[in-house]
Amino acid sequence: MTSKQSAHWMTSEGSSQWRPGQAPHVARFESIGVALPTKRLTSQELLESLRHHPHIDLERLTGIHERRVADDGEDSLSLAVRAARDCLAHSAHDGGDLDMVLSCSISRYRSGFRQRFEPPLSLHIKDAIGASNALSFDISNACAGMLTGVFILNDFIRRGEIRRGLVVSGESISQLGVNASKQVRSIFSRQLASLTLGDAGAAVLVERVPDGQDRGGIDFAAFTTLAEHSRLCLAYPSRVGPGASMFTKSRTIHKVAIEDAPPLMRDALEQTGLRFEDIDYLIPHQTSSRAIRKGVAELSAQLGAMPKHVVDNLERFGNTSSTTHFVALHRYLEEGRIRPGERVLLLSLASGLEIGVVLLEMDQLVERYGSGTQVGGYGDADDVPVVPVGPAAR
């Protein structure tokens, strides 16, 4: 074989990429569910628990006031199952209607901090929700796990191989902060990012858009792995306590993400025929408010425009790893911020370095939320701040 030349860098799922006749269908998000622990830990409380005194203002540095923390008896599996059940509670379907279940969390804790390698966690999730006939396995792709699952389901549904499936993740990762609290000594610590983590479960039911419906659904999905940066963020079982420890070259990973995201975003937008300002809501991966602001500023400078809203959901939840996009989207739906017909772009930036986009037009999903009886427990939380971004901000 000879080396081929492709017009696009990202591995894409859009109308121009499909072989003729191979993708007769469109996929959409039918429902979303979350599971949020009730226990909260503020950044100030976390800082006070550190063994050493790094002299940092964590809240100012990251924009995170507090994060949810799994209580006794909660783990990755229980969060995933709760989120899956919440998703089905908002859905027209039950577990028996699912053709596929993908568990996409990094943490796979069951029975405390037992990290399960096999059987896959998806086996227990599908068993718990009665999806006995669903094809199931686990996906591991760092914080891009859930969007990788969406990418996979989008492919299966568009080809007509399945009608619907569930992407689910339960992240019980606040323990990384506990382990980091024993070793972080300064702002330069490679475990500093562990102090941003919070626990959450999320699930999204992806299904085929009914025939004859010409609006709504996933317009485009694309991913790539910039593997020259694959070793910038590594997580292993910890040497200092139960759970894991994560070592991140935060400045470097943010720098390369900010440099590499704009050309890839331009590539993705070219394939969709959209301009950046056509995006109503950009939901980037939630690491820190400062990183989001810098990244969006660079995207704005490179693309010459801004989406109408950029979502920053960090203040109350921190970085919930693979679930961040869906925790944020679920909250915006519950609060009635998003309307049918609006375009939402989910942007994944994860260790690997994984960069991915999922672009969808909102449809019936909006009508399933907004009752104010939020299952995941947002409670009396303030409005999520929408970062004012340049002249296009409304």
């Binding site: 399960r116 199931s136 910039l226 694959s230 963020c233 590594l234 079982p237 890839l264």
Partner: protein, 294 residues
């Protein structure tokens, strides 16, 4: 493949590079790279091992603006069935046109690459091994035509692998007082139940595609050295159609099905077969069967 190394990442790298050479392909041609191995160096949880493999084999590492294409890498976890699950995903991506060339890599080795026995509690039950399969698209060949998979959660406790914190005496005041250790348990009756489950899945597959055992020219099966023969006896496969996994890969884990495929390919039996049945069974119990036709 190289069973000599004790590092799962090195095994995966070596297998991927050799696979590319045998396929006369370059790493830069890969659109999608999926790792299906489970047990890896230091029990790495993040990033996907596939990303590290991609970097090590130099598959489209960065983003040169304007030209070329990238590689998308991620891991699939489905025990011993992971390779077949990954092949099912790749078949979909290639058939739809999301990619043109993909690779599935699988390797397992002790997470602590120290001499066996130095740390008895971390003795690793699987033979270190790696494998890789290059998958392209050809409109003229049926290729991977059907997949069937089922889980049997009633047997979930028969085969398990996990890490957990085990308390240890503090030798020094600053010692952590324990460590995370890998535990892998295969309980009595596991392999016999796995055969039962795999037979059920094969029968489902045969029913769906209207096939019988007599139509199968070759059976490549992975769980243990005896697994293929046990399945052949149960489904009534004519004699001489089972591919035995090479001795150096007996006792390996996720890569075993690839070792069987390679053996079939090297011996020329795969080229001579019209219908090849691929079967894996592993923890869950999960059993997967697939047809490769040409």
């Amino acid at each position: 493949m190289s069973p000599l190394s004790r590092s799962a990442l090195r095994l995966a790298d070596t297998a991927a590079e050799r696979c590319l050479r045998r396929g006369a392909s370059e790493a830069a041609e890969l659109d999608i790279l999926i790792n299906a191995g489970i047990y890896r160096d230091k029990n790495l949880g993040e990033p996907a091992l596939a990303a590290l493999i991609q970097e090590d084999i130099h598959a489209n590492l960065g983003h040169p603006p304007g030209v070329g294409h990238g590689t998308f890498s991620f891991d699939v976890g489905n025990g011993a069935c992971g390779v077949l699950s990954a092949l099912q995903l790749l078949r979909g991506f290639l058939s739809s046109g999301a990619g043109e060339l993909g690779m599935v890599v699988a390797s397992d080795a002790s997470p602590q690459p120290w001499p066996r026995g130095l740390i008895p509690q971390q003795r690793f039950p699987y033979r270190a091994a790696g494998g890789a399969v290059l998958v392209g698209w050809d409109d003229k060949v049926p290729g991977l035509t059907a997949f069937r998979s089922r889980t049997f959660p009633e047997y979930a406790s028969l085969c398990e692998g996990w890490t957990e914190w085990r308390r240890r005496p503090r030798l020094f005041p600053s010692s952590p007082g324990g460590r995370n250790e890998l535990r892998i348990v295969r309980r009595p009756g596991y392999e016999a139940r796995a055969v039962d489950c795999a037979v059920d899945v094969i029968e489902d597959l045969f029913y769906e595609v209207d096939l019988s055992a007599g139509d199968v020219d070759l059976l490549v099966a992975s769980l243990s050295a005896d697994f293929g023969d046990a399945l052949a006896g149960r489904i009534g496969l004519p004699e001489g159609r089972v591919v035995n996994v090479p001795e150096q890969f007996a006792g390996s884990h996720t890569a075993q099905i690839i070792a069987g495929l390679e053996q079939a390919e090297r011996s020329g039996r795969l080229a001579d077969s019209r219908t090849c049945l691929l079967v894996s069974a592993g923890s869950g119990i999960t059993a997967t069967a697939a047809l490769y036709q040409q």
